[in-house]
């Protein structure tokens, strides 16, 4: 089922938790609502479920306006952050709850539960009580319970927040697998950008109640809609430069700033992968000391310090690092290949600007 929000706002007293938000979720899509805590993403999810009423705006599910439809009639499955399993009921009765309410026949209920226990690998746990389950099992029971009455939409609030890292990875794989199998429109809330990037088809980014961007994981990373998104997703190096004589400078670095008045400031941002690093101190015009190397699996993050004290973060593969023979404490040379001009939190960024080829620029002039 498709879901559409049109200019939806939610005020709690004076505070606008959600501010004029509009977006559409396609049928069968897996969408992440991402943002820092207090960004309004959970409130959006709860409004779609019918657990909160929008102060203004409309919510449509499958083309029908849902504002006046109570939560019970929206045919949604909701998975709560802390599982919210019924403590006084066994796993079987937890999953059967929605089916009994909908007056399913005993035989049908048994079949459905067997099917779900199979799907979520919970076989043999049907007589257990929630307190006898591990965190990951509880989460899967909560998903099974939400799926049991065959909802048209599955909503999950920070579904993997309360379990430890290893189980969280398993649960992510689960969610993707189940969602693909059932082709169920699914929305989940998370504050973990990596989780959103890995699991979802598209990401909606919220900050302070405003929708900042809605795009595919690749787009939000490579084409961030504004400075907030650029800084929130992934690592961004940010530099504030002083403009003088058509050049913007900080420390050893300088960038063209033709039409800017002298004495003004210019801010630029660039991703670590836009920073070239060479073990040869003369390969690029800026020299730096390689202070730290962080191992992030396949990729490494490098932290360099220039003589004037600027910290630059770069990223490269283990293989390249080894091939170049880089070591911590070494003098290297570095070069920023591409950057964007930043214009403030909610403002769009400039397009990517290529720095002039280092071999043709004033080699060594800044040092």
């Amino acid at each position: 089922m498709s879901i559409e929000l049109r200019n939806v706002s939610k005020h709690f007293g004076e505070v606008a938790a959600v501010n004029k938000v509009s977006f559409t979720v396609q049928d069968g899509e897996l969408l992440a609502l991402l943002g820092p805590s207090g960004g309004g993403k959970t409130t959006v999810l709860r409004m779609i479920a019918g657990l909160e009423m929008p102060t203004e705006g409309d919510i449509h599910i499958d083309g029908k306006r849902m504002n006046d439809v109570p939560v019970q009639k929206r045919n949604i499955g909701f998975v709560f952050q802390n599982y919210a399993l019924f403590k006084n009921m066994s796993v079987y009765r937890n999953i059967a709850f929605g089916l009994k309410i909908k007056k399913w026949k005993k035989g049908d209920i048994d079949n459905r539960i067997t099917e779900l226990l199979e799907l979520l690998e919970l076989r043999g746990l049907d007589e257990r009580y929630p307190h006898q389950l591990s965190g990951g099992q509880r989460q899967r029971v909560a998903i099974a319970r939400a799926l049991a009455p065959k909802p048209s939409v599955l909503l999950l609030d920070e579904p993997f927040g309360a379990v430890d890292a290893k189980i969280r990875q398993d649960l992510r794989d689960w969610l993707v697998k189940i969602q693909e199998e059932l082709k169920l429109t699914t929305i989940f809330v998370t504050h973990d950008q990596e989780e959103a990037m890995e699991v979802s088809n598209r990401i909606v980014i919220f900050s302070k109640g405003n929708l900042e961007q809605i795009a595919t994981p690749r787009e939000v990373y490579e084409e961030p809609g504004n400075e907030f998104v650029a800084r929130f997703i992934g690592v961004l190096n940010v530099l504030e430069l002083d403009v003088r004589g058509g050049l913007a400078r900080i420390g050893e670095l300088e960038f063209p700033a033709h039409d800017r008045p002298d004495g003004s400031k210019m801010r630029i941002g660039f991703r670590p992968f836009s920073v070239a690093v060479s073990a040869n101190p003369l390969a690029y015009r800026t020299q730096a000391i390689l202070r730290h190397t962080f191992f992030l699996g396949v990729m490494l993050r490098l932290e360099m310090e220039t003589p004037s004290g600027l910290i630059l973060r770069a990223r490269m593969t283990k293989e390249e690092y080894a091939a170049q023979g880089l070591r911590e404490g070494m003098v290297v040379s570095t070069f920023i290949r591409k950057y964007r001009i930043l214009r403030g939190e909610g403002e769009p960024l400039s397009g990517e600007i290529d720095t002039p080829d280092p071999t043709t620029s004033t080699f060594g002039a800044g040092i």
């Binding site: 019970q72 802390n82 919210a84 591990s134 009455p149």
Partner: protein, 314 residues
């Protein structure tokens, strides 16, 4: 991991207790003082009540209980409790629900008001009703004109008792409901349950022990209340005398044996209440302990096993 942490934690606690424990001598002195105090001031009088009541044998005991005025007092007490307890269960759940589940202005004032009957003297509680419904009170003349009797009649006694026993159920439920939160109820709603189905299948089971505990305490106080009831009752023998009032009346008539006989009934009620209360607390703590028990993830079993010998050494 949780299992491991719990075990470590417990170990740390027991060690610190060992460090601050008193010497055996001080411990025994303190226990003896406490036991003596309880014996002289609580146990002895309780035994004395039964001794006095049964002093002239079982025949005299049942003779007193068969007196029409005493029977009327017992009936009235049961009636008052039968009206008061369900009313306060309803009010208590409603009030606790409001306080635990919603945010609204004046909430702290409401919490304070719930405690008012505990903080005010029962005599004052009784006088409030005289002031409201008595002949010289605000509503008195109107009630008199319409021939409705509240003061010096059963409705007044019920009102005063409801007032006095109001906090018991609400006080027990507020912490339980706050601890449970709203998520389980919201989960039931998203699964299609109506408000009533949610209350019946989800809310009630989670508050049942607290609720039962509140009901028991509320009942004990409703049957034993003296001060407030004494003010509004009018002490009409056989009509508006409850058991505590009957005890006082018999005692003032120098019928010590009679007074102790009725008092012994109230004492039995108190003992039953304490028994049920202990049972409920035991059940609750057992359920709590069960909820704390965590079955480790398959990959955690190993970790737990490795830590065991280390725990043994400490």
């Amino acid at each position: 991991m949780p299992g491991y942490i719990t075990r470590k934690h417990r170990d740390a606690t027991s060690k610190s207790q060992r460090g601050t424990e008193e010497s055996p001598f001080v411990k025994w002195i303190l226990i003896t003082i406490a036991a003596l105090f309880l014996g002289v001031f609580l146990l002895l009088p309780l035994v004395n009540v039964f001794a006095q009541a049964l002093g002239k044998g079982w025949h005299a005991y049942f003779g007193v209980l068969r007196e029409p005025d005493t029977i009327a007092a017992i009936k009235l007490t049961l009636l008052v409790a039968a009206i008061t307890v369900p009313l306060n269960v309803f009010f208590g759940i409603t009030a606790a629900w409001c306080i635990a589940k919603f945010q609204f202005r004046g909430k702290s004032l409401l919490v304070t008001l719930i405690d008012l009957p505990f903080s005010v003297s029962p005599i004052v509680a009784g006088l409030i009703y005289i002031l409201m419904f008595g002949l010289q009170g605000y509503l008195g003349p109107w009630l008199y004109a319409h021939d409705i009797k509240i003061i010096f009649a059963v409705p007044g006694i019920v009102l005063a008792t409801v007032f006095i026993t109001f906090p018991f159920v609400a006080r027990e439920l507020i912490p339980v409901m706050e601890a449970t939160g709203r998520e389980q109820e919201e989960a039931a709603l998203t699964l299609g349950a109506s408000g009533w189905q949610t209350f019946w299948h989800v809310t009630l089971p989670s508050i049942k022990w607290g609720l039962l505990y509140g009901i028991i305490l509320c009942n004990a106080r409703a049957m034993g209340e003296f001060g407030a009831v004494s003010v509004v009752s009018g002490h009409i023998a056989g009509v508006t005398d409850t058991m505590p009032l009957r005890v006082e009346k018999l005692y003032n008539e120098y019928n010590a044996a009679g007074a102790f006989t009725v008092a012994s009934l109230l004492a039995v009620l108190a003992l039953i209440t304490l028994g049920i209360k202990t049972l409920l607390e035991w059940k609750q703590s057992r359920e709590f302990a069960r909820a704390q028990m965590v079955i480790p993830e398959p990959n955690e079993v190993e970790t737990c096993f490795i830590t065991r010998p280390a725990d043994g050494k400490t």
